[in-house]
């Protein structure tokens, strides 16, 4: 045993040496070359071109190395924010144009107009020179990112020109081939619950959803008509599936099981690779108004980190210029067929011989530029919720349009508020002083106790305990203090660089908001239901396994699987299991139990249940193993004795098993409660960030959303402090109860 331990330690040492070696080698390389960093959100096929280009750049600029790092769009945004705030971050950032407004407001991207020569700027499509408040913040290399109607030429020789035609063709193309009462091919598929895919229609019904001066314009007859239009496509004309997210729409179209799809220019390469013979057309003109729906046209491009020294800035600009050169843009046109921002390339054969690109001028003519102001975020957010409640049948179109407008105005106010300190700041200082005094007193007391006790007898346990405890405190204490300070500050979009302490404002705000109590109630229900089911299922299965059964280890192993597979993988899998049309769960319900299919992912209560089911599945093995351990510790003689006394199975369970199991289960259940309250991942992944209509949030996901969606860090910190205090209270109640049982 000791020898084995020794060899483990040796192996560990070996590993550490290896690691140091690697780190040193890394440092060596750093000294000889200068490394530029570029963060981007390019999809896989685009990434290959980018790598090729940066390698060419490195060859042309000896001594320079470019590190290219991919992040998914939302994450790119949040990790870039954190990085620049921490005083670092990449030299160049590549992303969609709509991130320009928020980032410029925060002061985390640099104005470019004075850094780039006039000849360079004038060679580029103005659509790709993204400005905010009269400063240039992004140089786009691609223009587009807009929606259109893509149709399968094999099924459809000619695309519909109007919505009436769309419905007529759609009906003809929605067919049930095998007669099981379910369409095997749909006329039209698209990710229709997402506002980005919905807003073009508002313009088709006569009005913009956003005014030129950056105000939402949602409470209009056009919005109401557009709500109704999509709802009718689904419920009256039945030409789109009842539930359809992006992945499903894409999969159906690629398999030839949908005649038309609404999707963007980024998907062309994918369809080409899948061997689909497709054509592109404008979104069909709205028949009742005679107007075209207006897809949002954006750009993607490069922005500059403002924290750079002038030397690094020059290098970064050199890279930016190279990546926007004719040669670089041409490489993208050839490989992925994107529309280049350099005007000189628009007449290049690579563009003119690409039939889709040639069509794009006609398609984009009816488009509107993608708004870049930060306020658009609030509009997407309010619109998403209300739109989804119309689709879910929980609201009339009229009421939803009015609410969406009201909500987005309110959110814009919240986002832009610049809070000043109020009188509660004195209470805050008192609190801080009290905390400091308490900490000082406690540690002084502890120190005195240690000094007073016989030093010899305490040295051993203290030395043993110290490394672990100090490690925990170090890692947790700073973030905790940081959060405490932030929760009293006005840290938000407008004060990103110059925030200050303001007092208890956010605490009052949270505690007087009725939404908070709704979410709190949901969190409590979520936690107790989960832990209750974990314990019941875990104990029940442990009891079953603990008998004399064949192949005991096999059963145990099979039942542990949900615990062993990483959560972020299984949570996503469960989302597809719950799919309305094709998810195995609904298929089981309809085929074998002859029940109606359930809207697992679009009905609030059912979505909540779906999250619950997923989490119960994830958590029961832990309790089962704990219970198994507890069961095996119960001496068999006790059962024998009881059996001799004539006690039945139920009595024995109640009088022997349960009381002896409780001390083992209780602490695990307390821990389970704490973990369940904080289980962000499951809720976020299964409900896709609180959908439908933000109805499925628990406290942690609610916090996450307000921090990263609306840039309200101060408020989110206060919310997380409150959550922490609630848990603390709950923990103490539970622990007291437990110690009563255990003594």
């Amino acid at each position: 045993m000791i020898r084995r331990l020794g060899s483990t330690v040796l192996a560990a040492l070996f590993l550490i040496v290896l690691l140091l070696d690697a780190t040193l080698a890394h440092a060596e390389a750093e000294r000889t070359t200068e490394r530029l960093q570029l963060w981007h959100n390019m999809i896989y096929s685009h990434r290959e071109v980018l790598t090729e280009l940066t390698q060419r750049f490195e060859r042309e600029n000896p001594g320079l190395q470019v590190d290219v790092i991919y992040r998914e769009t939302e994450e790119l945004r949040s990790s870039y924010q954190s990085a620049v705030m921490g005083g670092s971050g990449p030299d160049l950032l590549y992303g969609p144009s709509d991130q320009v407004g928020p980032m410029a407001t925060m002061g985390i991207i640099a104005p470019l107009e004075d850094l780039l020569p006039h000849e360079f700027k004038s060679a580029i499509d103005p659509l790709a020179l993204v400005q905010y408040q009269d400063h240039l913040y992004m140089v786009g290399d691609k223009v587009g990112n807009y929606l259109m109607l893509i149709y399968n030429k094999q099924l459809l020789p000619r695309p519909p020109r109007t919505t009436d035609e769309l419905i007529q063709i759609g009906k003809k193309q929605t067919v049930d081939l095998n007669g099981d009462g379910r369409p095997d091919r749909y006329g039209l598929v698209f990710n229709f619950t997402e506002p980005f895919f919905f807003v073009p229609w508002i313009k088709g019904f006569g009005e913009s959803f956003f005014t030129a001066d950056g105000k939402p314009n949602l409470n209009t007859p056009a919005t109401i008509a557009a709500f109704q239009f999509i709802k009718d496509l689904r419920d009256r004309d039945h030409i789109i599936p009842a539930e359809c997210d992006y992945e499903m729409a894409n999969a159906l179209f690629k398999q030839g099981r949908a005649a038309m799809i609404i999707n963007g220019d980024w998907s062309w390469g994918d369809y080409k690779k899948a061997g689909i013979d497709f054509g592109v057309a404008r979104l069909p003109m709205v028949s009742s108004t005679g107007r075209w729906p207006a897809p949002l046209v954006g750009a993607t491009g490069y922005s500059l980190n403002p924290n750079l020294s002038s030397h690094r800035q020059a290098l970064a600009l050199r890279l930016l210029t190279f990546l926007n050169s004719e040669e670089a843009q041409l490489a993208f046109v050839n490989a992925v067929g994107s529309l280049p921002s350099r005007l000189s390339l628009r007449t290049n054969r690579a563009v003119t011989e690409n039939s889709w690109l040639m069509n794009s001028a006609e398609l984009m003519a009816v488009g509107e530029p993608m708004p870049v102001v930060p306020e658009i975020r609030a509009v997407w957010d309010s619109l998403r919720g209300e739109y989804q409640s119309v689709l879910g049948g929980n609201s009339t179109a009229e009421a939803a349009a009015a609410r969406a407008q009201r909500k987005s105005l309110k959110q814009i106010d919240l986002m832009n508020e610049r809070l000043e300190k109020d009188s509660s700041i004195y209470a805050m200082w008192l609190l801080f002083m009290g905390l400091a005094l308490w900490l000082f007193f406690k540690s002084w007391q502890g120190l005195r106790d240690i000094l007073n006790a016989q030093a010899g007898s305490l040295r051993f346990p203290l030395t043993l305990a110290a490394p672990g405890i100090i490690g925990i405190l170090l890692v947790v204490l700073y973030p905790f203090g940081f959060n405490l300070v932030l929760s009293f500050s006005n840290f938000s979009l407008n004060t990103f660089r110059d925030w200050s302490l303001i007092g208890f404002h956010h605490y009052w705000d949270v505690l007087t908001d009725s939404a908070f109590y709704t979410v709190l109630l949901k969190t409590l229900i979520w936690t107790f239901t989960n832990v209750f089911l974990h314990v019941v299922l875990g104990v029940a299965l442990a009891l079953v396994i603990n008998q004399t059964l064949p192949a005991k280890p096999l059963w145990r192993t099979l039942l542990i699987i949900p615990w062993a597979v990483p959560q972020y993988i299984t949570a996503l899998t469960w989302r597809s299991l719950f799919n309305r049309e094709y998810g195995p769960i609904n298929q089981f319900l309809t085929h074998y139990l002859h029940l109606p299919a359930l809207d697992w992912l679009s009905d609030p209560l059912l979505t909540f249940s779906a999250c619950l089911i997923t989490n119960v599945w994830l958590g029961f093995p832990f309790m089962m193993v704990i219970a198994l351990g507890g069961l095996q510790a119960i001496p068999e003689e006790l059962h024998e004795a009881a059996r001799v006394d004539g006690a039945g199975a139920l009595t024995r369970f109640r009088m022997i098993t349960l009381p002896l199991l409780m001390p083992v289960i209780k602490p695990a259940a307390v821990l389970g409660c704490i973990w369940t309250v904080n289980s962000l991942g499951v809720v976020w992944l299964v409900s896709n960030g609180g959908e439908p209509a933000d109805q499925t949030h628990i406290l942690v996901s609610y916090i996450y959303k307000s921090a990263f969606n609306l840039y309200r860090y101060g408020s989110a910190s206060a919310l997380s402090m409150i959550t922490f205090l609630i848990l603390l209270g709950l923990g103490f109640v539970l622990m007291r109860k437990e110690s009563e049982v255990v003594r």
Binding site: I2, L5, A12, L15, Q37, Y44, I69, Y70, T73, E75, S82, G86, E247, M248, A251, L252, Q255, S267, L458, F460, L464, P467, G468, I469, G471, I472, V475, P479, F482, N483, L541, V544, L549, P550, W555, L558, I561, V565, P566, T573, S576, Y582, Q587, W617, G629, Q632, V664, P667, A668, V670, L671, I674, L699, V700, Y713, A716, T723, F724, E738, S739
Partner: protein, 276 residues
């Protein structure tokens, strides 16, 4: 006799149902690895599994940096597991067997650290790591991972030590063993099941962790598996086939470890009570 037979049959039926439920999602991932996103729209049944296709697995090993990510993940998780076991067994033993000032306070604050919403720790972690120049280094990850897994590990080790009879230590002390050699030569060897489980737990924490790794590691050469896996995901352009294939390979070592350690799992997993 007949009643017992019936009971066994009934138990096996329940277990079969439970096993199907617990394994099914994994089969679904397998279908996705073979068929990519078309698995989303497939009818259930064996159809999805009959034409297994290894294309995505080949792609994974030949065309991506999967092996580099694997090496990084193994390295990080192993070190974290070893550090975690060492620190947790020491602290756990001290808390289980000795009375010292602040003991119950420490026990409670260890539990308290689990109560803070993890999503809010990201920004402060990032800032402090930047200041310490630990961005893009495994050392930063070691520190954070070891300490985030520690609270549970300490509790778990403490719970186990409490189940060991005290007579043992008294007997060893009679034989003249010092506190340290008692701990290392008597207690640790007896605690093998708990040590294994604690190690497994720390290993799993770092093996599957994504959010912290994403802020600490920015050099693709240093990526761990979850980070690499995430790079197959893009808004509106996820490569589901690759993602699923990689998921399966990522899950495999953890499942194997579980299997290897499953005989320890039942005896070694004990969460101590608060009062103790």
């Amino acid at each position: 006799m007949k009643a017992k037979h019936l009971r066994v049959m009934f138990s096996l039926l329940i277990l079969t149902l439970a096993a199907i439920v617990s394994v099914f999602p994994v089969f679904y991932i397998l279908a996705m690895a073979s068929h990519g996103e078309s698995a989303f729209t497939m009818d259930v049944g064996l159809k999805a599994f009959t034409s297994a296709d290894l294309h995505n697995f080949r792609q994974l090993f030949l065309r991506t940096d999967f092996l580099i990510w694997l090496r990084n993940s193994v390295l990080i998780s192993t070190v974290v597991a070893l550090v975690g076991v060492a620190m947790a067994s020491m602290s756990g033993y001290a808390l289980a067997r000795f009375q010292f000032p602040g003991r119950s306070w420490i026990l409670r604050s260890i539990l308290t650290t689990q109560m803070f919403p993890a999503s809010m720790l990201m920004l402060p972690f990032f800032i402090v790591l930047t200041k310490l120049h630990l961005i893009n280094s495994f050392v930063g990850l070691f520190i954070i991972y070891s300490s985030t897994a520690l609270p549970f590990c300490i509790w778990q080790m403490k719970g186990y030590f409490e189940t060991l009879p005290r007579d043992l230590e008294e007997a060893a002390r009679m034989d003249g063993l010092t506190s340290w050699s008692l701990f290392i030569k008597v207690i640790l060897p007896l605690s093998l099941p708990a040590l294994a489980i604690t190690g497994l737990f720390s290993f799993m924490t770092s093996w599957g962790e994504y959010m912290i790794a994403a802020i600490v590691l920015q050099d693709p050469q240093l990526y761990t598996l979850p980070l690499g896996l995430k790079s197959f995901q893009a808004s509106l352009a996820t490569d589901w086939g690759l993602y699923a294939a990689a998921s399966l390979i990522v899950s495999a070592p953890v499942v194997v470890l579980f299997l290897a350690l499953s005989r320890f799992l039942v005896s070694g997993l004990t969460v101590g009570s608060v009062k103790g």
